[in-house]
């Protein structure tokens, strides 16, 4: 375990990747470090039937065919675009894939409104240019260019947040697989080495902000990642991420399974309510994704660890839930209030358990906020 605040996947799972590489005897495309089947095994975890000597834990939870399609795309000529609602694990899957394939998941360009073409291609070290003139030494390659040179995976996060001209800089990279540097007289083309590919992520809620051009769409395979609605796998994800979080903060705190159930159930209820809502005013602004759930739980855990009695209670959980989900006043608060009175109150009378305390916590939080 490294002592970084958040180690990238290739460092965090370095030992497991080394071991997998040592036992992998499948055919490897290009310069891949693992064969496609082993990549899948690394991401989705091993089973008894795989006949391995040690357990490989599951790191991404979702449909197997999504992972398979993503891996196969990377082995083909096209780039991979993971698209889905916020918090569905797109970036995490991209990181895992890059780590497994080339042991480097940090060649990332973050797409923002301020991203320029230089961030995708290259830029210049101005002082060096003044001192020595334009040369390969004074050039600063972008993460994507580095990936091309080394035959590894480059990542672009939130592709649709950057403007169309910046996006289109990717077109020639993905089809011609080289970047020309017209400023140089010689050695002015950087060719991609075998194994280079791009994993981009895009938020389906941002659609239409900077929609992809057809030319760029054609060079990507789209893999849509759905919101996890299966309660069982959602519970697994929340547990997995929370454990990781507790480890990272070195907190010794138990998350009672009943509280996890309360959290999952309340999110399921709120999602159902959002699906049934007629207009935007009647649904929460939050996408209610799994990541949001983890956020709520994280908030509750940290709160109870530092300010509470070092035990997670339903009261704290409810106030975290209200605090994280109430973003607009008064719409979100009204919805949460309606939820507490219409759903939680009858349930706390019927089922008891942690619900009455949860109800009380929610009420207190709403009273504080409004």
């Amino acid at each position: 375990m490294s002592d970084l605040l958040r180690a990238p996947a290739e460092i965090k799972y370095a030992e497991e990747l080394d071991w997998l590489e040592s036992v992998d005897d499948g055919p490897k495309p290009f310069s891949w470090r693992l064969s496609p089947k082993m990549v899948r095994l690394f991401v989705l975890g091993s089973e008894r039937a795989d006949g391995l000597d040690r357990d490989v834990s599951q790191k991404w939870f979702g449909d197997r065919s999504i992972v398979e399609r993503a891996i196969v795309t990377l082995a083909s000529d096209r780039g991979l675009l993971l698209i889905g609602d916020p918090g569905t694990g797109k970036s995490w899957l991209a990181e895992l894939l890059a780590a497994a394939i080339c042991r480097n998941s940090t060649q990332v360009v973050q797409g923002t409104a301020g991203t320029t073409e230089d961030h995708i291609k290259y830029s210049w070290n101005v002082s060096m240019v003044i001192a020595k003139g334009q040369s390969r030494e004074s050039m600063i390659p972008s993460p994507i260019m580095t990936a091309m040179e080394t035959g590894t995976i480059g990542r672009v996060e939130e592709l649709t947040r950057s403007t169309s001209d910046v996006q289109d800089a990717l077109i020639s990279i993905l089809s011609e697989k080289y970047i020309s540097v017209p400023e140089l007289d010689s050695d002015n083309i950087v060719f991609a080495q075998p194994g280079f590919s791009v994993i981009a992520t895009a938020n389906s809620r941002d659609r239409g902000v900077n929609d992809l051009s057809s030319a760029l769409k054609r060079r990507f395979n789209f893999v849509r990642i759905p919101v996890v609605t299966n309660k069982k796998s959602e519970a697994e994800i929340v547990r997995f991420r929370t454990e990781e979080l507790l480890r990272r903060h070195q907190i010794e705190l138990d998350v009672p399974p009943t509280l996890l159930d309360v959290l999952l159930q309340s999110f399921a209820d709120l999602r159902a309510a959002s699906a049934a809502a007629a207009g935007d005013d009647e649904k929460l602004e939050s996408a209610l994704s799994t990541a949001e759930q983890i956020g709520v739980l994280e908030d509750a855990i940290l709160h109870s660890n530092f300010f509470g009695e070092r035990a997670l209670t339903a009261h704290t959980l409810a106030s975290s839930l209200v605090g994280s989900l109430a973003r607009r006043e008064p719409e979100d608060l009204a919805i949460l209030n309606k939820y507490l009175h219409g759903v939680v109150e009858p349930r706390s009378k019927e089922e008891g358990g942690s619900w009455p305390e949860f109800l009380e916590g929610g009420r207190d939080a709403i009273a504080t906020l409004s």
Partner: protein
């Protein structure tokens, strides 16, 4: 078929025992299961009556069946299908497959009434083993086809109630998948693990998404070209495995075992009755039932099962169109799997060269080129005893087809074309990417050759960039490309008499009504009077069939009207099932309609309005005075028993229409409608006081009651009703709520107990009283509704509304406006035009006139002030008459009164004079009095 020698499977048993010891901690449960499976296989193989295990929609089963039939040429084929469906099977040749054999019962006895109607369907596709068996048996002379499974009646006797299978979350079924309606499906060879964990395990390790894909990959493909013994033993093995690993759902196990007992009992009965040698027979059943362990199993099984008697329910049978989508939806198969099975079947036939059986003259298939051989020479049955084929099969890795590159390329190109047609941006580059991705995906999933499902995944990955609502997604495009949904059609000859009759009667339209899709029919009835009969049929179909089967575009059928031209959108081919199911109810649509009308009218919860609707339909569609009278009498009964006024507006509307119809078309009113008006008058008079105060009754309903009373009054009084009843009822009404109070005032004005001036004054009072003003709009609502019973009040209503606009404060007026609009909308065509016409009359037509305009209710205030009182006291009329006696004299002469005008002073015995002139009356009176 010769029985295998003892110990055929000894070696396999030994191996399995070793395996059980190795995998489990010791020989125990696992060993029991594994050895039991071998026992089951051996038992079935040793049975002298050859058991042929099949799986539904399995091309491998169909292929093995076709081969086996050619080889063995059995004399009797026993088939696992409801025994009462037998007579219908020969009609299959008139249909385009897939169709479903249906047993239907609408009048049920012996089952709870709310189960009705009961319906069982058994779909038949061409790529199925059962179709091979049916085609062989029906077209080969001297071969018997015996259906041995429990009858449709027993399906319901043994099953629990037909659960509503469309839960609230179930997606709405589209047209194709709803072809079977809510029938219970029965199918030969339902083979699927009943143990959810087992299925999950198989799917996970098979790297497949759903059961159909697993079956295709791990059973269908490896078995595709295997020999008979291997096929049979493997199918028995799978059947036995699923049976032994099923959790003990007692009810389901009992039904399954009862079915096996039933089938074996029936087969033994047939063998005994005909004396057939079991070796000449073939028993086709699902692999699950082939591995049965009941005591009745086998030719030598015990005869202890007693088949229960069927209930008195009368079952009707027919063929209905089916479709691949409907089969998939009903039996929980993955979308597209039946289509893929059909494609696989065609491919297998081409690859193996097996000649399938097909019913002679089967509709919807290509004619075979060249004459068929009259009889297929019987190949000698396999003389060798079956050896143990299982061991080899289980040890050998599945023989996979080598990569068929040309086929995959073809698919890739085809899907890109289909996607482009579907509005996707797809190019040749995508075809290449799909091809490459399919192979890579298959490689990741340990397959040499991409399956259609891998290809589907690849196509979705490479082509689908966004989901556009209303556009077909790529997965669906692949399904369509792989064969698509095929929708069956029942041929004319296989239709029930009613459906044939409908087609015959619609023949003058010159349309191909059997075809699916919407067709436009134009009926120029004025030009071709014979089309009027078609129009009758169409209107009845519109009443009886689901919406969309026959939809009038132009033309209307109302009481007393006759159409000159009509145009229709007809989709009888699409709604063939509905038409066929009508055929179970009677032999002609008139009969069915009459039954339906009667059923609606005599239903325990029928309301008066519903019965009157039935009366109207009887006149409109059946032109039957007899039925209309009968139903009308029923309406009378229902009305007398009704205690609520919910249906009053509808009753009023319908009775008015019927009255108008009878008055114009008949010399005398039918007795029932006279009684109806009489009873209705008394009935509504009685209910009026309570309705005025009842919170559940709406203003509209009360207004409709008053409408009935006022508009039928003339007729009712002439039939002996008493107006006092109405006056008393109104006097007893004391509504609290403002709108009803307004309604009462309007009614009183109509009856003359409240003058218009008083009514106006009351309205003024309301507007002037600040405490009541907020309620004024509600009074207005009452007045608006009062237009229905008292249309003469329109000017007063316009005045009241105008006053409201003029004087009501905005906070009161504005919230009320939407209510006014909605109540006018709900009142429909009747109220709004009346009000608008009156308003048009009152208000100035031009803007310029508005300045000088004074509302009539303000202007004429002086006129009544000028006229009044002056006249009172003096006998003005008499003076005038005396001054001009000519008029009176002329009138008197006309009336036969002799003697001229006499001045008032001269008047002495006026009556005596008249009596003297006409003594007859007095004489007759005298005779009467004396006679008494």
């Amino acid at each position: 078929m010769s029985t295998p020698p003892e110990g055929t499977f000894t070696a396999l048993r030994g191996q399995l025992q070793d395996a059980a010891t190795a995998f489990a901690d010791g020989p125990g449960a696992l060993e029991g299961i594994l050895r039991g499976i071998v026992d089951d296989v051996e038992r079935a193989v040793r049975e002298p009556l050859e058991i042929f295990p099949v799986c539904h929609h399995s091309p491998a089963s169909a292929l093995a069946m076709a081969r086996r039939l050619r080889e063995k040429q059995p004399k009797v084929v026993y088939l696992e299908l409801c025994e009462d469906m037998a007579p219908l099977l020969t009609e299959l040749r008139n249909c385009r497959l897939p169709v479903a054999v249906q047993a239907f019962a609408s009048e049920i006895e012996g089952f709870p009434a709310d189960w009705a109607p009961l319906s069982v369907v058994a779909p038949v596709t061409e790529a199925s083993a059962e179709y091979q068996a049916i085609a062989y048996a029906l077209d080969t002379p001297g071969v018997d086809l015996v259906l041995v499974d429990r009858s449709s009646d027993h399906v319901f006797q043994w099953e629990t109630p037909p659960a509503a299978d469309t839960g609230p979350d179930a997606p709405p079924a589209d047209e194709e998948s709803a072809l079977h309606g809510d029938a219970v499906g029965v199918e030969i060879g339902d083979l699927r693990p009943r143990f959810a964990e087992l299925e999950e395990h198989l799917l996970r390790h098979g790297r497949v998404r759903h059961w159909s894909e697993w079956w295709h990959q791990y059973v269908e493909l490896p078995l595709g070209g295997s020999d008979h013994d291997t096929y049979r033993q493997v199918m028995l093995l799978i059947g036995s495995l699923f049976r032994r690993l099923a959790p003990g759902d007692q009810r389901r196990v009992r039904i399954d075992e009862d079915r096996e007992r039933y089938m074996w009992t029936r087969m033994r009965e047939h063998l005994a009755a005909t004396g057939t040698d079991p070796a000449d027979c073939l028993y086709v059943c699902g692999a699950f039932h082939a591995a049965s362990r009941v005591a009745e199993f086998g030719v030598g099984g015990s005869d202890t099962f007693v088949i229960s008697a069927p209930t008195p329910t009368k079952w009707r049978h027919g063929l209905i169109p089916s479709s691949h989508a409907a089969i998939e939806a009903q039996f929980g198969l993955a979308a597209g799997s039946v289509s893929i099975a059909a494609t696989e079947w065609a491919k297998n036939l081409k690859r193996t060269g097996v000649r399938p059986y097909r019913l002679e003259g089967q509709a919807g298939t290509k004619k075979s080129s060249g004459p068929r051989k009259a009889a297929v020479p019987a190949l000698p049955a396999a003389a060798l005893p079956p050896a143990d084929r299982l061991t080899g099969f289980l040890q050998r890795p599945p023989v996979l087809d080598p990569l068929d590159e040309a086929e995959l390329l073809g698919w890739s190109v085809e899907i890109v074309r289909a996607a482009r047609r579907g509005g996707y941006l797809a190019s040749t580059a995508d075809a290449i990417a799909v091809f490459e991705t399919s192979i890579l995906l298959a490689g990741m999933r340990d397959r040499v050759r991409p399956t259609p499902y891998d290809f589907q995944d690849a196509a979705v990955t490479c082509i689908e960039k966004e989901a556009v609502p209303g556009r077909r997604d790529v997965a669906r495009l692949v399904e369509i490309m792989m064969g698509g949904d095929r929708i069956g059609q029942v041929g004319y000859d296989a239709l029930p008499p009613l459906a044939r009759d409908v087609h015959d009667r619609l023949a003058p339209l010159d349309l191909k009504l059997q075809q699916r899709g919407v067709q436009r029919a134009l009926l120029d009835i004025a030009g071709r009077p014979e089309l009027e009969r078609c129009s009758d049929v169409l209107w009845m179909l519109r009443r009886l069939l689901p919406h969309g089967a026959a939809r009038p575009i132009m033309g209307d059928r109302r009481l007393g009207e006759r159409a000159i031209q009509e145009s229709w959108d007809l989709a009888l081919g699409t709604h063939q099932r509905a038409l066929i199911e009508l055929g179970y109810e009677g032999v002609s649509i008139e009969q069915v309609l009459e039954q339906r009308l009667r059923r609606a009218a005599y239903a325990p919860r029928a309301t008066t309005a519903q019965v009157l609707e039935a009366v109207e339909d009887a006149i409109l569609h059946l032109r039957s005075r007899r039925l209309a009278d009968e139903l009308g009498t029923r309406a009378l009964e229902v009305l007398a028993g009704e205690r609520s006024v919910d249906g009053a507006p509808e009753v009023l509307r319908r009775v008015r229409r019927l009255l108008a119809y009878y008055r114009t078309g008949e010399p005398v009113l039918p007795p029932w409608i006279e009684s109806f008006v009489k009873t209705g008058y008394a009935h509504y008079c009685t209910l009026l006081p309570t309705a005025f105060t009842d919170e559940d009754a709406t203003v509209r309903q009360v207004a409709a009651m008053l409408g009935f009373l006022f508009s039928m009054e003339g007729l009712a009084l002439s039939l002996g009703c008493d107006r006092t009843q109405l006056e008393l009822a109104l006097a007893q009404s004391h509504p609290q709520e403002p709108s009803r109070t307004a309604l009462l005032w309007a009614a009183q004005t109509h009856l003359g107990t409240l003058s218009r001036a008083d009514l106006r004054a009351r309205c003024e009072g309301l507007l002037g009283n600040p405490l009541v003003v907020p309620a004024y709009p509600r009074y207005l609502s009452g007045f608006v509704h009062a237009l229905e019973p008292v249309p003469g009040l329109a000017d007063l209503v316009v005045e009241a509304v105008s006053n409201a606009f003029a004087r009501l404060p905005d906070p009161v007026l504005l919230p009320w406006l939407p209510t006014l609009i909605t109540s006018l909308r709900a009142g429909g065509a009747e109220l709004a035009p009346l009000l608008i016409r009156e308003a048009g009359r009152v208000f100035p037509a031009r803007l310029a006139e508005l300045d000088s305009w004074v509302p009539p209710w303000r202007a004429p205030q002086e006129i009544p002030a000028l006229r009044p009182r002056q006249a009172i006291g003096a006998p003005q009329g008499v003076a005038l008459l005396a001054a001009h006696p000519a008029t009176c004299d002329a009138l008197a002469e006309l009336l036969g009164c002799d003697g001229g005008w006499a001045s008032p002073e001269a008047a002495a015995p006026r009556g005596a004079e008249l009596l003297a002139g006409h003594p007859e009356t007095a004489t007759a009176l005298e005779a009467l009095l004396t006679a008494g």
